[in-house]
Subunit: 515 residues, 2 copies
């Protein structure tokens, strides 16, 4: 066995070595990863911190709940913390790395059974290692009339992992934390519970009815270190009779607020079928090509130059995109209403029905994603500057034009202060809008690493102070993000943590929760 | 002060008297209720247990969070438990009474402020004492384009109370536990937390975005004794462009299963806009008149006589009802699809667009409820036999025809065994169906009380054993209902209870959770 160079806080080298020995006894030597070359994938991050700062000490690959239970017994004995991942693709937020150095990665990707797909209800009981692509393949193979609802990095990520992080997709079941029914959870003490109606023998509705009897606890296990989720019932989206998309272009920056308000009204009324996107012109450009291909300066592209670039390429300041479901007649009626509503906001253009080819990439993207197709296209933006650095800032606003405008202006100002471009991506739900703001930087350039780190801090602090909550954050920022919400809630969460994981072996620091 | 004749378990008369004295100092004498005549409304129950068995010792009527905090300090000091109610209209499940005798009722009806209605987002931040009628009056007065989503006893009950019990309404936001954003909760130690983004100063999305950052804990406070919810952000339903209803009649008992399967497909596809009802013919009759007006025998009406009665009155064996939203064109398209789908199941009749006057009461009821109108019509069924006794059994099935049929057959068999009629009410959601089965009995007749009590037990036990979970139950049955889900989940809930309420002062026994 290699000498372990990375240790969890408060764990001695000998205690860790002993634990590793015991893990090997449980899993077999090949499923206990300690060699630097085999650990490398778990160290690979995109965020602006040194790999060493959040390096795991080891990684474990159990294949069953029983093995997890045995692992946790060892962890409790030696006070060794485990950081659970499904597929570990939390890209731009920490990937597979733990919130604090030295935690042992509990990698569940070998637990990849699709246990049951219910072709009547449209639900799938799966394990954490199943990816959206696995699920789609299963559905296609069995010719079932359902779509998977995948997030942008869909093919390669886990529905369980994405749901636990409260990710979003693009169809009717897009708000993932509200689109599942039933969990199996291994607790820190090794006990296994099922939520909802799952504990009932011969249960006929575990994947159909979510909340069960008594306190409804599923949410507690999301963005959480209270337990290890080993099964979940994911809801599938029935294939719709038809789908069409629309795109609205605006050539003035100040058109954002009325566009948002119009989207909200149409979405709340149910005319627009799913969440849509409001992207800036520079974002559209960024999906198409690298910054260096059209700008040779350093730092953020000045606003006037952005404006000139967009004009030159025929790109709008803002692009609103959305999708409607229904048969031909129904989508025609809806699109007529949508056209009428947006035309009242004086846009540059309203395109409906078929937006393919009109703008780089995201025209088709809306419709493809909203009809259950999987793609890694969204990853193209990661290469905007090159150098392998990206961090996502994810503030949320009520979906009101003036708030969204305030948030966008604030975000752009902060990014520019640190020399970064603002590629605005606003995801419009019904009552809320969540923004995905990327900081793109060169991880090999220490100055950019520093600027990105500081910029992330400024984004989190300043948007929070202005009243925009951040619903998710990079692993290195979890404590600070929790602080932004004050001591009361955090103290309540800590009291639960102490009750359910007294040794603090499950993902210490996850979402800022510690024993 | 009167001598207190009812005591909470483990609390001495002198400790309670001391606590009452201190409560009076906090609230003023008039808001501490101990006199038998003033306590009577809190003792009034419809379930098949003696009032004394679940009688409260006193009731408190705080007007603010600060008063609740002070009350809890007294409770912790004297180990006096409080049972929180909003308006206390949990009719047929225990009304305002506590799960165990002697608990002090914490009646929040004086906390009845509508703090804010957001006319852009369609949300209302309210206190527990607000009723659906209060909220509707506010909306009407301010001419806002929203409907409240009320359950059957809508006018007189609290949106917070109904949501915490995971009740259902009839519009888009009908699954109440998924139609709110943000809570304020007073913990047993007197600390106050806000969930979601609520803790953020100047938060711009407390009522817009539900899950906040870190573990999503709101569900924990539903059907729960982990805290006292003092504010909640309820979502309102945007007034729809139009609404039409449809009704399908079946004259054969065996038509139930295909009807359910057809409803599920249409609902999952989004063609039917909200949950619908599948009611038996006897249920329709029961909404219209008392049993004694058409049957003079004792015990359950024999099946053949039910069949003859229905035939004679032109009532179907099953009536499926549902609603579609949209403008005239859209609802016409949807109703055409609905007609086509149900006609394939060979019904006696499919009526669309306007069902008023066709059957007693529930024809109009569907459309009125689905368009935000409030009514107490549903209460009419409470008088089916007379004598003030009713208990609701609420089992859930996956929405599959064969399961629903199995559950209905089983329920009818159990009820008949104990001499009660089966008035089948199946509420069809998308993936699940929940049944509201009433046991109607004369509370003044000891034999009927006994039969109703035993029948409830048999319904709970036998449906659970067959795999149908019960999502809610009468106060007297909470421990036994929890037992049906096995020891693991219950032990987890107990560990949380001990952490957040070590003295066990909050509603001991609620949902079977104790310290």
């Amino acid at each position: 066995m290699n000498k372990l160079s990375v240790l969890p806080a408060g764990v001695s080298a000998s205690a860790l070595a002993k634990a590793i020995e015991e893990f090997s006894g449980i899993l077999g030597r090949e499923h206990v990863i300690v060699e630097p070359e085999r650990l490398a994938p778990y160290r690979k991050i995109y965020i602006a911190v040194a790999e060493d700062a959040v390096a795991p000490s080891a990684a474990l690959m159990p294949s069953s709940v029983a093995e997890i239970q045995k692992i946790l017994a060892v962890c409790n004995r030696h006070k060794v913390p485990v950081w659970t991942i499904s597929t570990g693709r939390n890209i731009g937020m920490g990937s597979a790395a733990p919130a604090t150095r030295g935690q042992v990665i509990l990698d569940l990707k070998r637990m990849n059974r699709i246990i049951e797909v219910d072709a009547e209800l449209g639900s799938a009981l799966i394990e954490p290692g199943v990816t959206y692509l696995d699920l789609k393949d299963y559905i296609d193979e069995h010719k079932l009339p359902f779509w998977v609802d995948a997030p942008s990095p869909g093919p390669i990520v886990s529905p369980i992992g994405n749901t636990l992080e409260r990710g979003h997709g693009y169809t009717i079941n897009q708000d993932h934390v509200y689109s599942f029914s039933g969990m199996e959870v291994v607790l820190a003490n090794g006990e296994v519970i099922r939520t909802g109606f799952g504990p009932l023998p011969n249960c006929k509705s575990w994947q159909a009815f979510r909340s069960g009897y008594g306190p409804y606890i599923d949410g507690m296990f999301t963005q959480s270190n209270f337990g290890i989720v080993t099964k979940m019932g994911i809801w599938l989206t029935p294939v719709q009779e038809g789908a069409k998309s629309f795109v609205v272009y605006y050539n003035r920056r100040e058109d954002l607020a009325p566009a948002i308000d119009t989207f909200r009204k149409l979405r709340l009324a149910g005319t627009i079928s799913v969440s849509g996107s409001v992207l800036s012109g520079l974002t559209l450009l960024g999906f198409g090509q690298r910054k260096s291909s059209f700008y040779s300066g350093t730092g953020a592209i000045p606003r006037e130059e952005v404006d000139a670039l967009l004009k030159e390429r025929g790109l709008p300041q803002w692009r609103v995109g959305g999708v409607v479901y229904g048969d031909d007649e129904e989508t025609t009626i809806k699109l007529k209403k949508i056209r009428r509503a947006f035309e009242a906001t004086n846009p540059a253009q309203v395109l409906i029905e078929d937006s393919s080819g009109v703008v780089p990439s995201w025209g088709e993207g809306d419709l493809a994603s909203a009809t259950g197709q999987l793609s890694l296209d969204a990853f193209r933006i990661l290469n905007f500057v090159g150098g392998g650095g990206v961090m996502w800032h994810m503030p949320v606003s009520a979906m009101k034009g003036r708030y969204v405008e305030q948030l966008c202006t604030m975000s752009e100002g902060i990014l520019r202060r640190f020399g970064f471009d603002y590629l605005a991506m606003n995801w419009c739900n019904d009552r809320d809008m969540h923004q995905t703001t990327g900081i793109f930087f060169d991880r090999t350039d220490p100055a950019q690493m520093r600027a990105a780190y500081d910029c992330y801090d400024a984004l989190m602090q300043e948007t929070s102070r202005a009243g925009f909550g951040n619903y998710r954050c990079s692993i290195h920022y979890m404590d600070k993000a929790a602080e932004l919400f004050g001591p009361e809630l955090r103290s309540f969460l800590r009291s639960i943590k102490r009750a359910v994981d007294p040794a603090g072996i499950l993902a210490p620091g996850k979402s800022g929760v510690h024993i």
